[in-house]
Symmetry: D2
Subunit: 115 residues, 4 copies
């Protein structure tokens, strides 16, 4: 079984192919362009924090921006997880033994909860 | 489809039955007794925090205990989620459309990440 | 310098005494009885989670309750920290070198953010 | 009272001036250049996440990178808070009534804990 995330027409996809020459099945966590746009905005938020420090903004205002960037990153992560469950885990369940996929998703959730 | 968590011989189980008179299939998030034991210990930790405040323990020590109880609760939650994915979500995937189950799990993850 | 949290008339206090025979100065994080009441309720929430597992409640409902208990614990912690800053750190600043108190508070914040 | 963060020789400073024509007193959360370097690296981490999505990296690997970026942001925030307590709050305590500064710091902690 091969798992990868694929650039598919119209979206960002995770593919699980069980056999060679089988067309992969995709999930669309979200429109890939929308996901890329969100990440671009978060990159801009972090650059904004950098600029605030450079320009000696008030610490509390810097902290407010950091909290906003952190929340935006976590929202992206939850969206990716939802797509991962909906497609990679579900495909694995249908194709056979999903134990490894579930453990992997659960470890990712634990890292997210602790970060 | 009926979803519930069931006290099954030897464990704590979540059951998905698709038809009446079908024996439910269980997941064992962990041995139910072990899970109950962990929750009992967390209850004791919170009672310990209460006692520390009553006895005027130093604030920083109270905060350390609160962090420990919080981490223990989150570890229980991640374990429950793993079991839920491994059984309820996987069963739903095999039985038909898992969309609602995935959304529900994803919402629970979002609440956990934000708490 | 002696730091402790003291049961003072009308509240829960943290005291910083710099000299013997000096009456301690208190902070009132909140009314001590109110704080004890909140902790008692959180203990009840955790006991409720235990009962839900015992009675085989649906996993997602158990997770919702765990998130609520976690949030309540964190709110208590933030309140304790505010009182600690307002009194222990402020007193230390006025009495001399607050470096150790600030480091201690910052370490507690780091543990809280990571839990 | 004027609070601002100032670019001071050798560091990143938060200044509290109580009177005009009084030279400001600074705190050095950390060397300003070091802080800017950390933020630059986090910006690079987020750009890396963007590139991973563009190149269809495996979702779990994307999530691992998001967790790392989130943790790095939170570590910067805790460092900024420590500097803020050590300087802005301490100066406010010495100069008069620190109530507003403490409330502001406590609100920033609450946002951080919830994000």
């Amino acid at each position: 079984m091969v798992s990868f995330c694929a650039d598919t027409p119209g979206g960002y996809g995770c593919s699980v192919t069980t056999e060679e020459n089988t067309p992969p099945q995709y999930w669309y966590a979200a429109d890939k362009q929308a996901l890329l746009g969100r990440l671009r905005r978060i990159e801009g938020q972090v650059r904004g924090v950098h600029r605030m420090v450079e320009e000696d903004a008030y610490c509390i205002d810097v902290l407010t921006q950091i909290s906003a960037a952190t929340r935006a990153l976590q929202a992206v992560a939850v969206g990716l997880l939802e797509g991962h469950l909906a497609h990679c885990v579900v495909e694995a369940a249908r194709d056979g033994d999903p134990t490894a996929k579930v453990k992997e998703a659960s470890d990712a959730i634990a890292r997210l909860v602790r970060s």
